[in-house]
Symmetry: C2
Subunit: 170 residues, 2 copies
DNA sequence: GGTGTGAATGAGACTCATTCTCACTAACGT
DNA sequence: ACGTTAGTGAGAATGAGTCTCATTCACACC
C-alpha cells in the first residue's frame, strides 16, 4: 500500500451499490461474512440488517436514518456493530460537518466514488469520476505526499454545494 | 487600537499562509476587518488573536491547540468567535473524524489547497496541487454535479494516510 | 444432551466537544 | 450623556457517540 488505492482487482464484488438485486445481495453478504470471519467476528442478524440497509439505500446515511428505515436495533447495538463493521473494512464512516456521522459500504465492496455534500441540509450523494482523472489525481497526490513524508492510503474528493432540495437561499 | 492598521491595503489575500511576515499580517488583518464590517461585526482583540494564531500556525488546528498556543480567550468566547469568523468567511471549519473540529483561514484569504489527513493521530497538513489538475477536477465535478441537480460551491480533496509521526502499524 | 468459552446484546449511565443562557461590559452613533 | 447593539465570560445545557455490565447466544468439545 505504498500507493493510494487503485480501483484494482479485488476478489470482492465490485458492483454498483445502487439497485442491488438479489444476486449482488448474496455476494455482498458472502463478502462481508468473509471479512468478519477474518477478524473472528460473527455475522449476526443485527449486522446483516445494517449491511442490508446500507446496500439498499445506496448512499451514505446517518444512524437515525438507518433506524428510521427499520429500527430493529437498539442504538447502542447499532453503534457498536457499525464500529465492528468499520474495523473489519465492511463500512466506512464519513465524519462530515453534519450532526451525525454518515455510514456507507466500504470501497472494496462498492466502486470507488466520491460525494456531493449539501452544505445546507448535510445530505450526501455519490458521484463517480473518470478513471483517468482519478489516476492523475492519485499520481499527483502521491508525489505531494511523499514530499511531506506522508504515507497515503486513499483519497476522498467531495464537492460541496446545494442539493436539489436546497437551492441557494432565495 | 481603533481602526485596522492598514489603510494602504493593497489587494491582500492570495498569499501563502506559511511564514507570514509582518506585511502579510497587516494585509490579513485588513482583509478580515473588511469582511467582519460587511457583516456588522467588530474586529475585537479576541478575534484578532484567533486570526493571528491561525495565520501563524499555518495548518488546520483544533480549539485546544489554539488555546495551547496562547490561551488568552475563554473557551466559550473562542468557540463563539470562531463561529462568527466562519460565518463571515474568514475561517473554515473542518469536521473530520478527530475528536475536535479543525479550523483554518478560509480560502480567499489563503491559496486554494487540500489536506493530508492522518488516520492515526487525526492531524492535518496542507498540500497544494497543480492548477491545471485543479481545473480538470473542477470541470468534471461540475459536470457530474449538474447531472445530479447539484449546485456546487467548492471542492475539497483529502489524502488519507499516515503522517510522518504515525508510520503504519509495526 | 450437557457444558464451557467467548462473542453479542440491550438498557442505561456516562463523556465530553460544542452550544446556549444570562448578566454584564465595551463601542459606536446621535 | 444616552440609548442601542455587539461582545464577553462563567457556567449550565445539549446531544452524538461510547462504555458498562448483566444477560443471552453460538458454537465446539465432551
Amino acid at each position: 500500500m505504498g500507493a493510494p488505492t487503485s480501483p484494482s482487482s479485488r476478489s470482492a464484488p465490485g458492483r454498483r451499490q445502487a439497485e442491488a438485486d438479489d444476486d449482488t445481495m448474496v455476494d455482498l453478504h458472502a463478502a462481508v461474512a468473509r471479512r468478519l470471519e477474518r477478524h473472528d467476528h460473527r455475522y449476526t442478524p443485527g449486522r446483516r440488517h445494517l449491511v442490508e440497509t446500507l446496500a439498499r439505500v445506496a448512499r451514505p446515511v446517518t444512524l437515525p436514518q438507518i433506524s428510521s428505515h427499520s429500527d430493529e436495533l437498539p442504538q447502542s447495538s447499532a453503534y457498536r456493530n457499525l464500529e465492528v463493521l468499520e474495523r473489519c473494512g465492511v463500512i466506512s464512516r464519513i465524519a462530515g460537518s453534519a450532526d451525525h456521522a454518515h455510514f456507507e459500504l466500504a470501497e472494496p465492496l462498492v466502486d470507488h466514488h466520491h460525494h456531493l455534500v449539501c452544505v445546507s441540509c448535510g445530505s450526501l450523494q455519490d458521484v463517480h469520476l473518470d478513471d483517468e482523472l482519478e489516476a492523475l489525481v492519485d499520481a499527483e497526490l502521491a508525489q505531494a505526499a511523499a514530499a511531506a513524508g506522508f504515507t497515503p492510503t486513499n483519497h476522498s474528493l467531495d464537492l460541496h454545494g446545494y442539493c436539489h432540495n436546497c437551492e441557494p437561499d432565495r
